[in-house]
Each structure stands twice: as C-alpha cells, then as structure tokens.
Symmetry: C2
Subunit: 207 residues, 2 copies
C-alpha cells in the first residue's frame, strides 16, 4: 500500500490506514490486520474491534466481509493444507491405518514448499505465545477432529487424536527440523514401518 | 560492557571489542561471541578464528581458555540439563524402561524454569538454520548417545534412539508448547501409561 492511495474516511479511524470500503484492498487489509493480531495476541484475546481498528475500518465492515471471529480466523490463518482432504479415503483395515497416515504425512512434507510455511508457523509458536495459541486453534479446529474420526469410539477419541498428533509432530521435528541423521536419511517406507504401528496403536489399541 | 572499560590491544583487532587478556570479561566475551556465531551459522560453519574475531581476541587465547571447538561448543551452549544424570539408574526391566523415561521427562518439564529455556531454544531452531544445527549438535552429542545406551543392541540403536527422541519431542510439544487440551490437563501418570509402552517398543521391540 502506498500513502498516495490511502483515503481518509469520516470520522477518521484511530489509525488512519483504511481504504474506501468495498475495494479488494480493504478486504486484504482486514486479513493482514487479523493475521498480525492473531499472531501477537492469539485467538482468544483478539477482537473484531481490534482488527477493525488496526485495519482502519468500522467493525461492522469486518463482520460484513467475514462473519464471526471464527470465520475471520479461518480466512486469515489459512491452513497450508486441508487435513480433511489429506485424510480422505483411509483404509478400513485398522492395521493399515497408522502406516498409511505416516505415509501421507511424509509425502506431504517431502514433496512441497509447504514445509517452510509450517516450519515458520511452528517456530513462531515456540517463541510467541500468541502464535502458539493460533497454531493450537488451527490444529484443534482443523486437524484433531479429523484424527478423532479415525480413532475407535471408546470415549477417549480426543486423547487418541492428541497422541497421534504428538508422534506426528515429533516425527516432523526429527526429520525436517532438527534433522536427526537416521530420520533425515531414512526412506519414507522405513519410517512408515517403524512409526506406523505406533499410530495404529494410538488410534485403535488398548491405551 | 561499557565503552569506557574497553581497551585496545596492538595490533588492534578488526572489531575492536576485546579487553585485556586474562580478565574474566575476556572469557565471557569469547563465550558470548561463540553463542552468537553458533546460533547464526551453526556448529559446522563456526570457526575458532571467527569467534576470536568477534570477541576481539587472538585465536590462541580462545584455544587457551577453551581447548577445541567441541569444548568451546560445550562451554558456550550449555545443556540446560545433563541427560546422563536424568537417565541414570534406569530400571533393568525393559517393560518399565519406557514409562520411567516418560515419567522423568515430565518431572523435569513440569517442575522447572528450564521449560522456557528449552522452548526458546526449540523456537530458534525452527526459525534459524544455525540454531537448528546447534540444537541438533547438542541433542546428537548429549541426548542420543544416552538413549542409544538404553536400546537393545541389534545394530539399530541409533535408529531406536531417534525414534524415542521423536516421540519425546512430540510429547513436549503437545503438552507444553501447543498445549493440546488433553495433554495439557492430563496427570503425568496418564501420559506415562499411554506413551510409555511406545518408548519401550522403540527401545526394545521389533521394529
């Protein structure tokens, strides 16, 4: 955004960074402001009002464009991948469930530029509490429910989903971030064979 | 350090930040320079010469105080805990090995201010390649050999140690960093019961 394209509205907002309502830029500025505030303060402590203030628009405009705070969050903090899609058509044979899950996660991380985005996200989460909460909200809303659906229905599906997520997160850390030598050099199927049964156990075994 | 306490040596170093050799400050400045450079460039690409340059001292002085680069690394990048100590006197009964390991890790993280230090370290590792390499060197030199010693000797002990480290890292991430609800609220023994068998399996089971 250049200063010359800015337009003041009346009454002027506290931070006169807004554009005329209705332009695509307004939408983008609201999203940018939302991303900043979610990263700084986390989901819970970020309000529509604060986002509007930073974007220099009226809160009603934020609601108009994005609906609720939940909707705004989903629009602003785009999941780099859609867990629902990644976890579609999983095998019904439970012993194949864990290995297949590991295989798909490795395929995703081995093959795309997504890795850098997820790394950055995880890095911020570790160093900024707001970002940690954003990551938590993203995983809790996007990933865990999908994992939960793969688990046996024994009243402990939330716990099972989190156990799976913990081993998956550790795998990603070991192979892509810290890059332990065995993990980094292993063929995907070697990791599938070693970690897959753990995932199956967490999803369907006796805890 | 204040400017008034700085002393130039002859010949003056490229960056005149040194003090007179022999003072405690010199030692601290070498350590500070080493920490900075290890974080920026990682273990491999950091040289004694570069550390000396940044500290404004002669490389020989760095060797005099700290010995080899490995020794300097150990002195500069202090492990927040001594894995050898944490993993001392483990039960010989292999089924108790995994649970006991999880128990000790939880005790360590639940109870100390160490958590923030380790979090910061992990956060930097995710956002700075140099820090990632430093963390890798620290874990590879300090933690993995200890875990390796707990594994059955079937020629795959390095792989077993890394598998254990991956699940432990994921557990720490889930409970203390991302704070998944079940993980964050669980009693330690609930986590011990769920994750312990996985650790035992990685250490002693058929992979």
């Amino acid at each position: 955004m250049t200063a010359s394209t800015r337009r003041r509205r009346k009454p002027p907002p506290a931070k006169p960074r807004g554009r005329r309502p209705g332009s695509n830029d307004t939408r983008d500025e609201i999203l940018a402001a939302a991303r900043e505030l979610f990263a700084e303060h986390g989901f819970e402590r970020t309000t529509i009002r604060a986002v509007a203030g930073r974007a220099g628009v009226d809160p009603a405009l934020v609601h108009h464009y994005f609906g609720t705070k939940d909707d705004l969050f989903d629009a602003a903090v785009e999941m780099p991948v859609d867990p629902h899609q990644v976890l579609a058509d999983m095998p019904s044979d439970t012993t194949r469930l864990g290995p297949e899950l590991v295989r798909r996660v490795l395929l995703l991380w081995d093959g795309t530029e997504m890795r850098e985005r997820l790394r950055g996200m995880l890095g911020s989460a570790l160093t900024h509490e707001g970002a940690a909460e954003t990551l938590r909200a993203m995983l809790t809303r996007g990933l865990l429910p999908e994992l939960r659906n793969l688990a046996v229905d024994d009243g402990r599906r939330e716990w099972r989903a989190e156990l799976v997520a913990s081993q998956m997160a550790g795998l990603i850390l070991a192979r892509y971030v810290v890059k332990f030598s065995q993990f980094a050099e292993a063929e995907p199927e070697q990791i599938v064979a070693a970690v897959g049964p753990t995932i199956t156990h967490y999803l369907t075994g006796r805890l």
